[in-house]
Amino acid sequence: MNTQTELRSPMSQRPHIISKAKDRTGIGANVGIEVNGEKLSVPMGKTILEICRENNVHIPTLCYHEDLCIAGNCRMCVVEVEGMKTLQAACAFPVTGPVKIRTFSNKVRKARKHILDLLLSEHYGECYSCVRNNNCELQSLAKEYGVDGYEFGHVCESRFEIDKTSHAVVRDMDKCILCRRCVRTCIDLQEVGVLEAIYRGYDTMIGTFMDKPLADVICINCGQCINRCPTGALHANDPSDDIWKAIEDPSKHVVIQTAPSPRAAIGEEFGLPPGTSMTGQLNTAIRRMGFDRVFDTNFSADLTIMEEGTELLNRLKSAIVDKDKSVMLPQFTSCSPGWVKFIEHFYPEHLNYLSSAKSPQQMFGAVIKTFYAKEQNIDPKDIVTVAVMPCAAKKFECNRPEMNSSGYKDVDYGLTTRELAKMIRETGLVLPELPKSNFDEPFGEASGAGLIFGATGGVMEAALRTVYELVTGRQVPFKNLNIEACRGMEGIKQASVKLENCVEQFSFLEGVELKFMVAHGTANAKTVMEMLLKGELSDFHFIEIMGCPGGCIGGGGQPIPTSELIRKLRAKAIYDEEASLPVRKSHENPRIKYIYEKFLTDGPCGKLSHKLLHTHYQKRGKFIS
């Protein structure tokens, strides 16, 4: 499926893939090696680093990241290989014969220490004023190797101006160690290609096209580069000071909504293993911090399903019954702002495929400043809405000029999981030890369908549960409502479900094979779009795309580090919690029924919905002026 990426990335930037052994001498067959005197039998073709990690031998790395292709540029991972004149980079050395390796000889340790000293000689920044203090790979290596001075000197003046132009990503190139993980992330994983090493020699830096500020080039604000940066050179644009101010201001009613993914990951910031769900504790913490109300974004995820699902059915009807050629199918989801900006830039002629439904964050903002404000008798101008999101792109999304359908800025601040954790730490609260508590009314209940929005495939699964039941009057024909075809970390997934014995209103769908597809990470989104352009998706109906690998649980605002295993554990936390919820379908959420009875009285995709819950997109194009 990845032909596009393969064509594009050069040999050196492709992941190292080990093929299966054909016989006992070829690649993949076992070979006996020695690591620090210990004999091991390992598959030929694996790198020294992989072998050592599997056997609990620690090798320090900086430019290596398991989500990315091998670069071999930092040399932190050097080891001694017997018979070789120079030290070898463990991450880039595939074992092809019986070698003897030493991972911490004097020569190795001296080289690593020199590499660190050289990096530090150009590293301008102080750990105590750095966002990555205590979670920085450079800092921990300095500790590991007992750096106790600057052997090769130290810069005492800043060389670069901090780039704060973007709503999402702040670039502080003084702290960059040129490992190029961000470059590989942005090019290979996301296919956006914002960052690359520019200039040469001592002047080399990670820069943008023509060295422009980040806000002026085509960045989708996904924040994936932040999650993979080993240092504090890239970080998110933090609004927490303003939020603290609003909390202290007695005239402000500060409302917070929390997305499904942060609760599955925020524990990691407090030393818990990945995949520990903190929903109840988080609510308590937020209340104690002084927020007036804490709501569940899952409620508006349910709302999104109602709107997006209805929109899909409307499109199907226009296409099948009215034979309307202007209706675009398949319908693409629109809840990932990174993906939305991606399609606006790279496929501006195909925006009609996108659902017009806003993302859950923006829907909630609009509902809070209209429906909620009226019910509670609060002037919407005094309401401050904060959204806790796993996402950096949400910061850009809430600042889009069109996102003010309540008459005010619908969502005032997008706050990432990491930033919320920082705010909690500032209060001295110990999150894991807090008692659990529930979300506030009137949006106190959300369905499990809303919860699984956090993982890739979740929106599709939630939508199918509702759409299938609306159309046929029966539950989706999957065990325990779990649509396994939507789950898992494969880049592009597809499946179908047959609609039979439809209720009268949807009889036009009788016998239709509803085909759907799920993709995550914008490199995969690009592959899907290329398939669409070639006409290969003409029989598909619904496509879910998430901008970040793994979906929201792998979002650019989530705790660092990230890896496929961590993302899987977070997803598991969400699915496990979901399985135990009483309501697991969006349309059965009583609060959703309530809001359509009391407020959005003309129903999903009605007039008021269109005003508050739907949006339009901009043809941005990819020309950088």
């Binding site: 594009r8 090019i187 956006v192 290609g193 960052l195 520019i198 040469r200 096209f209 023509m210 080039v217």
Partner: protein, 157 residues
């Protein structure tokens, strides 16, 4: 940039892509030819190259900013590059540098007002055995002294 100028650039880039093939390794020859034609590689041309080779504009810019002989801004009709590496330096680059600066009335890195000459330093051009050396466009001049250097500069159009 005017529309018809843009079209001309696009056409050139598309011809060059055809000539050298749509692959990453065609990037350098394509950039060199664009520069030969236009004297520099504009941001529009860079993005056209990126589009046609299906790579990202920043990758093109990364290459241009890496190579000293590729330019993203307009420069003079002629480029004079004086070797600044140590062998030439020992043989008297400094005196030549002072003389040519006075002759042209500009500093290194600048272009004369009439757009006739851009003056630059270059790293070793491989003429150490005939140092000091200087490049004028594609021509090498060796064994220079301040007077000859100025004389050569006076002769270029």
């Amino acid at each position: 940039m005017l529309v018809y100028e843009k079209n001309a650039v696009s056409e050139l880039v598309s011809d060059l892509t055809e000539k050298y093939g749509k692959k990453r390794s065609s990037l350098l020859p394509i950039l060199q030819e664009i520069q030969q034609r236009y004297n520099y590689i504009s941001d529009f041309a860079q993005q056209e190259v990126a589009r046609m080779l299906d790579i990202h504009p920043v990758e093109v810019y990364g290459v241009i900013s890496f190579y000293a002989f590729l330019y993203d801004k307009p420069r003079g009709r002629n480029i004079v590059r004086l070797c600044k590496t140590i062998i030439c330096d020992l043989a008297g680059t400094k005196a030549i540098a002072d003389a040519v600066k006075r002759e042209l009335g500009i500093e290194f890195g600048d272009t004369t007002k009439d757009g006739r000459v851009t003056l630059e330093y270059a790293n070793c051009i491989g003429m150490c055995d005939h140092s000091p050396a200087m490049l004028v466009n594609d021509h090498v001049f060796t064994g220079l002294d301040p007077e000859t250097a100025c004389k050569i500069l006076r002769e270029i159009k």
